[in-house]
Amino acid sequence: MSHHIVEVKDLVYRYPDATPALDGVTFRITHGEAVGIVGANGAGKSTLLMHLTGCLFARSGSVRIGDHALTRRNLKQARGRIGMIFQDPDDQLFMPTVYDDVAFGPLNQGVPAEEIEAIVERALETVGALHLKGRPPYKLSGGEKRRVAIATVLAMSPDILIMDEPSTGLDPRARRQLIALLKTFEHTKIIATHDLDLVLDLCERTIILHQGKVAADGKTLEIFADEKLLLENNLEKPLRMQGVQNDANATLSRKSAASGSLAGE
């Protein structure tokens, strides 16, 4: 089963105003892997995701989804394999009701009308949102929107799930539920996020992007244990790995620094 593979080679992209966004990114993600893509703001995470979904095309280098390089010509097939979950669910849920939204993708794929209902209900059931079927998306809460957004993608039965900041705007409980839900999926998962704890929960592998380049690529636990590496890339250890002792010290030193600067003034 080679069609779950995502391979990016020497990807270079500059925005029209010549701002470099990606500068020779290379990695290969195989079937069933869950990979976290982390990096400071402006590191190129979103731009990279846009390339994986064919919303942008590289200046040089290539993106391969499965056996084929992603080009404008085979975009339609490639997009059937990739499910992209956008950062803002309001961008993703554009239809008048939840049902219509989940049905949108399969209908475009040419699924016959009589099978649609079963597909939509299965997708909504998977994310625990079947009861929201008839509701308009703008009336949903943040967590509900996120669930429905995931259902819209699942309904297209993709091999690869790509997520941009899936935990933003969620309260702790909704975030926890999302993580539990994502854990049950067997798809290849690519998650771009600032939420390192989420990466720790979901991804065995992590890629750090820094100024458009791959700064590190390896086991999540090893990367997050390397404080120097994280610091160089403007990242911080996931809260859970910082430990109580460490945390208390940090708070203390921050406090004394604050009072010191006050006294200085």
Partner: protein, 269 residues
């Protein structure tokens, strides 16, 4: 400001009434759409002094509201929100058209007053009919009915997206407005000089959102056509609904029913 907020959000409330289940709600969306269009055409086709001839037409909104279990207050409040437009159109008629047309309990009534009344009556009838249509059908079902009736697809897609993003746009507009209010001290309203950049900001946000939505649509196989999984069935009762009301509208249009009935009663006496 809360006034604006709630007024705008209540637009959405109308669509929610569409999930009720009454005899009117169960009718085919096309039947209701066609009937409403017939109604509006009938109302606007009367001449400018028509008042009494219009009165029987009130039956249509009243009947659909009652059968559809729609709260009358909700409709009236929304009609009032847009009423300034209608008032502006007719407000000067009484000054320009001073010809005395009739006397009511001894008081002379000029043509201007009559035509202003006619404008307001027509406005109330047409706008409430359109609002009731949304309340008993739902906006998206109306759009679908339009598509089935061969209205160009691009237009229908525009309407659907407009309705979906109206609230998102309002929210962005309101948050810009709030951010301005919080930092503008006690200034009342928005300074003209800042207005331009506020609107520009809103436009830019709208454009980038539109771009993201388009990408999201492309990622799910959008090819210029929105497909909706809904089945429509135009049954006998739908045909009866359209025909019966159509006939009634025609009757009202051809005969001034109140006058006609008055004459009949007098004839009998």
């Amino acid at each position: 400001m809360p006034g604006i907020d709630t007024a705008l959000y209540s637009i959405g409330g109308l669509g929610e009434l569409a999930s009720l289940d009454t005899s009117i709600h169960r009718l085919d969306a096309r039947a209701k759409l066609i009937t409403t269009v017939l109604f509006i055409v009938t109302v606007v086709s009367f001449d400018k002094y028509a008042v009494s001839a219009l009165l029987p037409l009130i039956l249509f909104p009243v009947a659909t509201t009652a059968l559809g279990n729609i709260p009358v207050g909700a409709i009236i409040r929304k009609v009032l929100i847009v009423s300034p437009f209608a008032v502006m159109i007719g407000i000067f008629n009484p000054f320009f058209d001073r010809q005395i047309l009739m006397h009511i309990v001894g008081l002379p009534v000029s043509g201007g007053v009559v035509s202003l009344t006619s404008i307001l009556l027509r406005f109330a009838l047409t706008v409430s009919a359109a609002l009731i249509l949304i309340a008993v059908t739902g906006f998206e079902a109306v759009c679908l009915a339009l598509e089935r009736l061969k209205v160009p697809r691009a237009f229908v897609v525009q309407l659907l997206l407009l309705y979906r993003y109206l609230f998102v746009l309002l929210e962005e507009g309101l948050s810009i407005r709030r951010a301005y209010a919080l930092r503008s001290g006690h200034a009342r309203g928005v300074d003209m000089r800042v207005y331009g950049s506020l609107l520009g900001q809103l436009l830019l946000r709208t454009l980038s959102r539109a771009q993201r939505i388009h990408q999201a649509m492309l990622c799910r196989g959008f090819d210029g056509r929105i497909r909706l999984a809904r089945s429509f069935s135009f049954a006998a009762k739908d045909a009866v609904f359209v025909l019966a009301w159509g006939l009634f509208f025609l009757l009202v249009r051809l005969y001034n029913l109140p006058v006609f009935m008055g004459a009949m009663v007098e004839g009998l006496l």
